[in-house]
């Protein structure tokens, strides 16, 4: 007993102050939201397009990058002769609409807006989520799970992961949605009472990620369910996930 108490003192209070205080420090090599500048791309150069493992970079309708497919491997930055793609340290990447993840050098990045008044009144201070891994590699799952630890303490925002879809206000989906999980996912969704929301976390759940266009997967949840929040990354940093959830419930507004 005494040991347990002494250990408690030794381990200290660890919960981060964010969002009321500063966010935890991110490493210098952290890769957050990329910015692109294609104006001075040498004509005919398509090295980044050819190298991108998930075809996230497109040139056909003007130069653009699909954050929802991006694995943040930064191979594109290594081959670009002009450093026209650059990964910033901005961890705020969650959006409400799939199209908002398609970035180019003109459009301003549209951060996720809060739920509408009606849903915000319901979920703003108590949001219970059921997590479904549908082909996820356990990295998105792990960095979602970490939000429940004392360091992040998701419970202080009223957000909690629950064991049964019957107790949930929505689903948080990871993975490219394998054919073998499709039915289980749809059944779990059906078991959540209305009104309900869907959150897609990670490149796989948004676009299929590295498994895009495999016959065994459905390229994420977007074609199967109405998705209300999309959080890109491979996997997204816990701070990116937390930021997205807090924007959705209206705790972060800028």
């Amino acid at each position: 007993m005494l040991d347990t108490l002494l250990a408690r003192i030794q381990q200290k209070h660890r919960t981060i102050k964010f969002p009321d205080g500063p966010p935890p420090e991110l490493p210098d090599r952290f890769m957050g939201r990329p910015v692109i500048n294609s104006k001075d791309c040498p004509s005919g150069c398509a090295r980044c397009v050819e190298l991108c493992p998930t075809q996230a970079i497109t040139q056909s309708e003007g130069f653009g990058l699909d954050l929802g497919a991006c694995l943040f491997c930064a191979e594109c930055t290594r081959v670009c002769p002009r450093q026209n793609i650059h990964f910033t340290k901005d961890y705020c990447m969650a959006v409400r609409r799939r199209d908002d993840l398609r970035i180019n050098d003109v459009r301003r990045f549209q951060h996720a807006m809060a739920l509408d008044q009606c849903l915000k009144r319901l979920f703003g201070r108590s949001l219970k989520l059921r997590q479904v891994s549908a082909g996820g590699c356990n990295a998105c799952e792990a960095d979602t799970n970490v939000l429940g630890t004392v360091g992040w303490d998701l419970g202080r925002f009223g957000i909690q992961f629950v064991a049964s879809p019957r107790h949930a206000d929505g689903l948080l989906i990871t993975g490219p949605v394998t054919e073998n999980m499709r039915m289980a996912l749809l059944k779990t969704y059906a078991a959540v009472p209305e009104p309900k929301i869907v959150i897609a976390v990670g490149a796989c759940a948004i676009s299929g990620g590295p498994y895009k266009d495999h016959e065994e997967v459905h390229n994420g949840a977007c074609d199967l369910l109405p998705v209300d929040l999309l959080i890109p990354g491979c996997p997204p940093h816990p701070l990116t996930i937390l930021d997205g959830l807090l924007r959705l419930i209206g705790r972060i507004e800028t």
């Binding site: 040991d3 347990t4 250990a7 408690r8 030794q10 381990q11 660890r14 490493p27 210098d28 090599r29 952290f30 890769m31 190298l51 991108c52 493992p53 998930t54 694995l71 943040f72 491997c73 997590q131 479904v132 891994s133 549908a134 082909g135 996820g136 590699c137 356990n138 990295a139 998105c140 799952e141 792990a142 960095d143 979602t144 799970n145 970490v146 429940g148 630890t149 004392v150 360091g151 064991a163 049964s164 879809p165 993975g175 490219p176 394998t178 073998n180 999980m181 289980a184 779990t188 990620g209 590295p210 498994y211 495999h214 016959e215 065994e216 997967v217 491979c234 996997p235 940093h237 816990p238």
Partner: protein
């Protein structure tokens, strides 16, 4: 009967051989050689099919002879639709033969338990094409059933209560006692192996890093070593050390998370809370090195993509000291708490004999007293120069698996500290030449769950004719099912966590 193999054709991990020199045995000689090698203490690290032309298929077995630090590759060709099953004589072949049947419809005749393991349609001869038709419906199979008065069945999954991956568990119970557990997986099947053929390509390294996301570094290490073996490239000492450091960070992070989760599963919340946070601190150390907490992007064929400079070394060393101190306090609480020990001791015990028979790997095997560790047995990279003592326990139960994890955490910390203090010079990454044709290479890496085995065979153009991945979970899922026999069903979460196997690493 390795002596009867016409020509000796051994490999060490990370070495390549010309396939054209591989002795092709008769089916009978192949079977005898596999069974004999296993009887003599060898293990089946991989058993798979390589499609040849027409209906012809080549059956390959990679037999690890740990005590001699070498791998014996055996092969035989068949044009039949069936071959005599090895499983009745060699239990280690059990899961592999089910996989072979599911992928290629090549029937292991006499297999006692022939059911799908991933529930997908069979591959075609030209298997880069989509599989033929639809696979069997996921989870629908003839589960083993116990009958009798007061026997009941409990079905759990695929969607579980926590934030974990999907799988289906079917328990046959008498009251609280589990008589039998059958584990049915495949929900995470993404068709990786099929897509690796004809490679490597732009996505290959990303498949490796997401085969099992918590083992990104382990699988990427095995892949890079396989490619380097095929092309005969030696990476610099510095790159080897950096790979070793991140591999051990991955081990510490996952073991730490598991120690916390084990505490959580017996309702001991202090250690659960502390370890959950400390695990994050370890992941952040990997994040410091490469920007990603899971080590995505650090390993690339030919070396590593990120360096560790003097300032980072200092930061890592000081963070390591803090983490070690916090972990020691958090984990030692477990051993001092009698209510925790009462739940750990004797729960989910596997005997050494059964572990040998099933071919268990990793902490699950070492907890039974088996000194099996690829870092010692099949050393590659930095582990050829520095040995980490093998951590074993002798009870084979949850306590044993917990103890092995804690010992490994401490020894990995000591290893990282030593390596950081003496980082050798060297180029970070060298360019690999195109892969040579007709080569076989095997790489064995001791991931945090156990032996990761990657086998590559190149075709006449130097592309992957087959790329076989065996996650440690592939060997160990049956071990978990076995550990549950005659246990209380309420101990399942605890037993499950003490193995902590990968669903996606198994399902591929």
């Amino acid at each position: 009967m390795s002596d009867s193999v016409p020509e000796r054709f051994f490999l060490s991990s990370g070495q390549a051989k010309d396939i054209r020199n591989a002795p092709v045995l008769s089916m009978e000689a192949f079977q005898d050689a596999v069974i004999h090698a296993v009887e003599e203490g060898g293990r089946i690290s991989a058993l798979f099919v390589q499609p040849l032309h027409g209906r012809s298929m080549r059956l390959w077995a990679m037999l690890s002879q740990d005590s001699r630090s070498r791998i014996l590759p055996l092969c035989t060709d068949t044009e039949e639709e069936a071959f005599p099953s090895l499983t009745p004589l060699c239990a280690q072949a059990h899961w592999f033969e089910r996989e072979i049947h599911e992928q290629w419809r090549l029937l292991p005749k006499g297999h006692p338990w022939l059911k799908p393991i991933r529930f997908h349609a069979p591959y075609r001869q030209n298997h880069q094409q989509p599989p033929a038709g639809k696979g069997p419906e996921i989870g629908v199979t003839d589960f083993f059933q116990v009958e009798g008065e007061e026997i009941h069945e409990v079905a759990v999954g695929p969607v579980h209560a926590g934030i974990i991956e999907p799988g289906h568990f079917r328990f046959q119970c008498h009251g609280e006692e589990v008589l039998h557990l059958e584990i049915s997986l495949g929900y995470q099947h993404r068709g990786v192996e099929r897509r690796l053929l004809g490679g490597p390509g732009n996505r290959t390294i990303h498949y490796m890093e997401t085969l099992s996301g918590d083992t990104s570094i382990g699988h990427a290490t095995a892949y890079c070593q396989t490619l380097e073996a095929l092309s005969g490239v030696r990476i610099s000492a510095r790159a080897q050390v950096i790979r070793g450091i991140v591999l051990e960070l991955e081990r510490i992070a996952n073991h730490t998370g598991d120690m916390g989760a084990l505490a959580g599963d017996v309702g001991f919340l202090p250690t659960l809370s502390y370890c959950g946070r400390i695990r994050g601190d370890i992941l952040n150390m990997t994040g410091l090195i490469c920007g990603n907490r899971f080590g995505r992007g650090i390993l690339r064929p030919g070396g590593v993509a990120f360096d560790i400079d003097a300032e980072m070394t200092k930061a890592l060393l000081s963070r390591l000291d803090v983490a070690e101190k916090d972990l020691t306090v958090a984990i030692n609480l477990l051993w001092k708490t009698s209510s925790v020990m009462a739940r750990f001791e004797g729960t989910g015990a596997v005997s050494r004999e059964m572990a040998e028979l099933m071919g268990l790997v990793g902490p699950a095997a070492r907890a039974c007293g088996i000194e099996r560790d690829a870092r010692k047995d099949m050393p590659e990279g930095i582990f050829r120069f520095t040995q980490i003592p093998v951590s074993t326990w002798n009870t084979g139960d949850v306590l044993g698996r917990a103890h092995v994890r804690w010992l490994e955490i401490q020894r990995s910390i000591a290893f990282i500290r030593e390596q950081l203090q003496s980082l050798p010079e060297g180029q970070l990454q060298s360019t690999l030449p195109p892969l040579p044709p007709d080569r076989l290479a095997v790489s064995l890496v001791e991931g945090w769950r156990g032996e990761i085995c990657h086998v590559a065979l190149t075709d006449s153009q130097g592309r992957f004719a087959i790329y076989k991945i065996v996650d440690p979970s592939f060997h160990n899922w049956f071990g978990l099912a076995f550990a549950l026999r005659n246990q209380q069903i309420s101990d399942f979460p605890l037993c499950n966590k003490s193995f902590n196997l990968s669903y996606c690493g198994h399902d591929l």
